[in-house]
């Protein structure tokens, strides 16, 4: 086995420089290589979420997006879905800070009268095995709000006096989930396009 290089100042500086330069170049190259596919994967996820939460449409909802202002100067992105030019549903990308961990994002589809069509989780960091039961692939808990109109359906978990069954042992996640829908519903009824 070859003997190690001596730890002289020049040797150390040179080695670290070469190691970091090679690493940086490689990573830059990989970043360029994966940038396109990552963007495509994200766009595909959004489009899939829109298709999941609104009825069949024939327009391109992401070309007709508009913003809905909400409190604290923030706004929500809305994707209107049309069939033969008629509005069939609006997918709204909404979020909540009321969850168990940090802010999480969901997509909610509303019929023009404000009835919830369906929901899809965009991203979250809730506890695996507990809070993630709100994901469609982990259970059908989230389906209970489908087809409900928040005008006659209290968007709060039962513990807080509402109509929504919470997830066992994940009340915070359940609260966050309905809070996000509530935020989107209020914004949509206030300023959304209904036709």
């Amino acid at each position: 086995m070859a003997s190690k290089k001596e730890s002289t100042f020049i040797n150390m500086v040179l080695t670290l420089f070469i190691v970091t330069a090679v690493a940086a170049t490689t990573l830059g190259y990989i970043y360029e290589l994966t940038k396109g596919p990552i963007e495509a994967a994200k766009r595909k996820k959004t489009l899939k979420a829109i298709a999941n939460v609104t009825p069949a449409f024939d327009n391109i909802p992401s070309d007709e997006i508009y913003m809905l202002a909400i409190e604290n100067d923030d706004s929500l992105v809305c994707y209107p879905s049309r069939k033969d030019g008629k509005l069939v549903g609006t997918a709204i990308s909404t979020y909540t800070d009321a969850g168990f961990t940090e802010r999480f994002y969901i997509m909610v589809g509303f019929a023009p009268d404000g009835t919830i069509i369906n929901t899809a989780i965009l991203s979250h960091k809730e506890t695996p095995g507990l809070g993630d039961k709100m994901e469609k692939k982990k259970g059908n808990w989230s389906n209970q709000v489908n087809g409900k109109n928040p005008a006659k359906y209290k968007l709060k978990v039962k513990k807080d006096g509402g109509d929504v069954d919470g997830i066992t042992a994940a009340t915070f996640t359940s609260r966050g989930f309905v809070d996000a829908i509530d935020l989107a519903y209020k914004a949509y009824m206030k300023g959304g396009k209904h036709e």
Binding site: M1, A2, S3, K4, K5, E6, S7, T8, N11, M12, T15, L16, V19, T20, A23, T26, L27, I30, Y31, T34, G36, P37, I38, A41, K42, K44, K45, S123, K125, T127, P128, G129, L130, T168, A169
Partner: protein
């Protein structure tokens, strides 16, 4: 040490999780289900294998005093490569594992093998060591994840085994410690029997 022994020692005799007790952070954190354990284990195996190869290749060019920073840069680069590639081509897997991937950088199994093995041995031996240790790590994580999933959610690899909610504690952090403790005891017993230590 024979080539076969270098490869197989990671599974039981020097299992990184049950015997060396290295890399406990991802071990306790991600093993809420068998699938997460397996995914994390395989991602770690890949990084471990690649970093072992590179460290072994350049070992004679690295002055002793800067070897640790050099190894860390190499490991972090591979982790980033895994993260970007997974995000681009396996978005489904990335959704469930994404937040754990950066944890691989601070996994001491990888730095430990670079320092204790790859920096002193040939490339071929380092490949065998990386594969063996990585797969041993993946095996341990999968077993731990499977047990916690069965006890905690009544399922394995997402397929329901029995109905009901299971014992919640096993999905949460304390369950990880409890199950890991029993598994370490079991592997100690097995090791004593097999190797007469």
């Amino acid at each position: 040490m024979s080539k076969l022994k270098i490869f197989t020692k990671g599974f039981l005799k020097e299992n990184p999780v049950f015997v060396l007790l290295l890399g406990m952070c991802p071990v306790l954190g991600v093993t809420t289900s068998a699938e997460n354990g397996l995914g994390m284990g395989l991602a770690t195996t890949f990084v471990l294998l690649m970093s072992n190869i590179v460290v072994s290749l350049i070992k004679s060019f690295i002055p002793d005093k800067v070897r640790i920073p050099s190894y860390i840069v190499i490991i972090a680069s591979f982790v980033t490569i895994v993260e970007l590639t997974m995000q681009a081509f396996l978005p489904e897997l990335f959704d469930s594992l994404g937040i754990f991937i950066p944890l691989i950088v601070v996994n001491c199994v990888i730095l430990g093998r670079a320092e204790a093995f790859a920096s002193k041995n040939s490339v071929l031996d380092s490949i065998l060591d990386g594969l063996g240790m990585g797969l041993g790590f993946a095996l341990a994580l999968t077993i731990l994840g499977a047990l916690r999933e069965i006890l905690g959610s009544g399922a394995i690899f997402g397929i329901n085994v029995y109905s009901g909610d299971g014992a919640l504690v096993f999905v949460l952090a304390p369950g990880a410690f409890i199950v890991l403790g029993y598994l370490i005891a079991l592997s100690n017993k097995l090791n004593k029997k097999l190797y007469n230590k």
